[in-house]
């Protein structure tokens, strides 16, 4: 393993119930890199994201997930979060009765420890990031994701990422549901954190996000395997020809 490998999937095989969803996925992300992951609906992208975070419904039937060379497989989701793994959910769940402010405080304290600035310092940091993401302060008192629009939920996911400052960020279709302006704001939020300390896996269906968060590499997941890996320019071919372009390239045995 080369010294600067941050995150690695090795022949990862995953089942949900009776269904084998991932059939041997290999991926290597070096420190500070941004990788885009595309693929048709149902190809297993969210499964991959959830398994990285440790979702209990998924059973890893083979392979490994390595973060800084250490396997994550035996670790609980909260332990992975504390190590610096972050998942921006495709469908963030609503938690009525837990206010956004209370949740953010609990999350930040759990991952980063109690802040030295006290409650005032914490709120100041939250307000600053909210301002950047153009989320009004009224959201702090609302139930977590309760009645939020699709776009509002996605902004809140990125707000959490900015506060938790992860080492590995997995963004699962963070662009879906965002209007044109919101997409730009959210991408700017993500780019705020980019640098050598953040390694990113960006799951998306569209080129527009990748114009704003420029990846170093592009992968295509099809039927539970990486069917294509290449440079970021391949996204143009995909936009033009669809996934048939991959099918033509790799032959029928994958699809």
């Amino acid at each position: 393993m080369s010294a600067d490998v941050e995150f690695e999937l090795r022949d990862l095989r995953v089942k949900n119930g009776a269904k084998q969803i991932l059939q041997g996925v290999d991926l290597t992300l070096r420190r500070g890199e941004t990788h885009a992951l595309m693929g048709p609906n149902g190809s297993g992208k969210s499964t991959l994201a959830n398994v990285i975070m440790g979702h209990p419904d998924y059973e890893v039937t083979g392979g490994d997930i390595l973060f800084h060379g250490q396997s994550l497989l035996g670790l609980a989701p909260e332990e992975r979060a504390k190590l610096g793994v972050f998942l921006a959910f495709q469908y963030p769940v609503a938690v009525p009765g837990v206010s956004v402010a209370r949740f953010l405080k609990a999350a930040v304290e759990a991952v980063r420890g109690k802040s030295s600035g006290g409650a005032g310092g914490f709120l100041k940091g939250v307000r600053e990031q909210m301002k950047f993401l153009e989320i009004t302060e009224a959201f702090l008192d609302r139930g977590l994701n309760e009645g939020f629009s699709g776009g509002e939920k996605k902004r809140l996911e990125i707000l959490q990422m900015l506060l938790l400052k992860p080492a590995l960020g997995v963004l699962d279709e963070t662009d879906s549901g965002l209007d044109i302006d919101a997409l730009r704001i959210v991408a700017a939020g993500v780019n705020r954190l980019r640098g050598p300390d953040l390694t990113l896996l960006v799951i998306t269906h569209y080129e527009r996000l990748l114009k704003l968060i420029e990846p170093d590499h592009l992968h295509v997941l099809m039927n539970g395997r990486i069917a294509f890996s290449g440079g970021p320019d391949a996204v143009k071919q995909l936009e033009l020809h669809g996934y048939d372009w991959i099918r033509d390239q790799v032959g029928a045995e994958v699809v």
């Binding site: 440790g54 979702h55 209990p56 979060a81 759990a110």
Partner: protein, 433 residues
């Protein structure tokens, strides 16, 4: 499991001789009042396991006959108890067989029931139930409370009974006069804290029995906010049958919270009896160990243009069992009625059980009426979301349970009571992983 032999209630000891002993020396008006209630009590059938309502709460769970009837209350000069009293205009402290009264409110009258009987309003019709009648005949700790129109008043009643193997029978008759506004917080406690794990040998650790029968008369345009906080220790059995009648444009907001008690059977009936009357009934209960918490509500619409909204939320863990039975009744001609009833239950582990039995009896057709119930464990996707943000699993569960109850806690206006409810929920979760 609680499936016990369906033996009936043993109420034979509540006879004329017992009543005569209890009421010896009371004024004639009191005696005749008790006698009338005793007649009703004698005429009503003893609840039996075959009655749908009592199917889950057989007499064996409530061995009232094993307890000696407490003596009628004596006045003591004790100062008011510490908690919250400064927030209230008046405090009634009942400590075992004594009471003290503290009333700073100009528009509130509080009288021991025996001194007030001449001024009492006529009884609430749907209070014709066996234990309500028993409470009306045999009350040992009774008060009449009258709120007159004027500034809103707050009354705290601390019911605290010693775990001395006695049966106490508290009774409030509350009249909120037209346009008056009364907030009433009742806190029920045993003077000894028990553990939450209760032995199956019911008789051996039975320490306190309580049978209550309160009645509330909410006048035209008046408001009654009532919170009943059941913090009994673990060796208490409690049956309470409370009823309210709300006149035109009146409003009753009830919050019933049950945390303590070994076996608890509560009935809360509310008749929105005048046009424009509204009732909001809320419940919060959390049972653990082998606790048995059975609650029945009645939303009765005897007039057109009336509203009743009900939300009862509970949680059960360990081997505990909760039962909720709700009934909405709309009388013939009660049109433009808006009635809603919802019961939710969190069943936190296998072995705990929550039964939910809603029912409707509707004689009118122009009404909006809905009811529902939902029972299940916490949502695993919510737990995963919180864990993905670094919050450990047990803490995530606690956060979600606390959040679940927040909807009901938010209906209480007094901040101190809200805090107490949150603390009681937290205490119930202490050993929950």
């Amino acid at each position: 499991m609680h499936t016990l032999e369906p033996t009936g209630f043993d109420l034979a000891r509540f006879d004329a001789a017992a009543l005569a002993r209890l009421s010896a020396g009371e004024p004639a008006a009191v005696l005749s009042h008790r006698a009338a209630a005793f007649e009703l009590f004698s005429a009503l059938p003893v609840p039996a396991a075959r009655d749908e309502e009592w199917r889950h709460s057989p007499g064996k769970l409530f061995p009232c006959a094993a307890f000696a009837l407490a003596a009628p209350l004596r006045a003591s000069g004790a100062p008011p108890t510490a908690d919250w009293h400064e927030d209230f205009d008046a405090v009634i402290d009942v400590t075992d067989e004594t009471f003290s009264l503290h009333n700073r409110a100009g528009s509130l009258d509080i009288l021991p029931l025996a001194e007030a009987l001449a001024a009492l309003p006529a009884g609430v019709p749907q209070h014709r139930r066996k234990f309500a009648a028993l409470g009306q005949a045999f009350w040992t700790a009774g008060f009449f409370i009258r709120a007159r129109a004027g500034a809103p008043v707050r009354l705290l009643v601390n019911w605290r009974f010693a775990a001395g193997g006695k049966l106490h029978m508290p009774r409030l008759v509350v009249a909120v006069e037209p346009d008056a506004h009364l907030t009433l917080v009742e806190r029920f406690q045993g003077l000894e804290r028990g553990t939450t794990s209760i032995s199956k040998d019911w008789k051996a650790d039975a320490a306190l029995a309580v049978i209550g029968a309160h009645e509330f008369h909410v006048g035209a345009g008046a408001t009654l906010e009532r919170v009943a906080l059941h913090e009994w220790h673990a060796a208490t059995i409690c049956i309470a049958e409370d009823a309210a009648v709300v006149a035109e444009r009146g409003r009753a907001d009830w919050v019933t919270a049950v945390f303590g008690g070994r076996a608890v059977k509560l009935t809360a009936g509310c008749d929105v009896a005048g046009a424009g009357a509204a009732a909001h009934l809320s419940g919060l209960y959390f049972a653990d160990g082998t606790q048995h918490v059975d609650q029945r509500t009645l939303q009765r619409h005897s007039s057109p243009d009336t509203t009743s909204h009900l939300l009862y939320k509970g949680a059960v863990r360990d081997q505990s069992h909760s039962i909720y039975q709700g009934l909405i009744q709309a009388a013939r001609g009660a049109v433009r009625v808006d009635a809603y009833q919802m019961n939710r239950n969190l069943v936190l582990n296998e072995g705990a059980r929550a039964d939910s039995l809603p029912a409707l009896e509707i004689d009118a057709d122009d009404l909006k009426c809905s009811h529902g119930s939902a029972t299940g464990n916490l949502d695993p996707e919510q737990i995963f979301y919180l864990r993905a943000r670094g919050i450990p699993e047990a803490a995530a569960r606690h956060l979600l349970i606390a959040a679940y109850f927040e909807e009901v806690i938010g209906k209480v206006s007094h901040a101190g009571v809200q805090e107490r409810l949150r603390a009681a929920v937290a205490q119930k979760m202490e050993t929950l992983s």
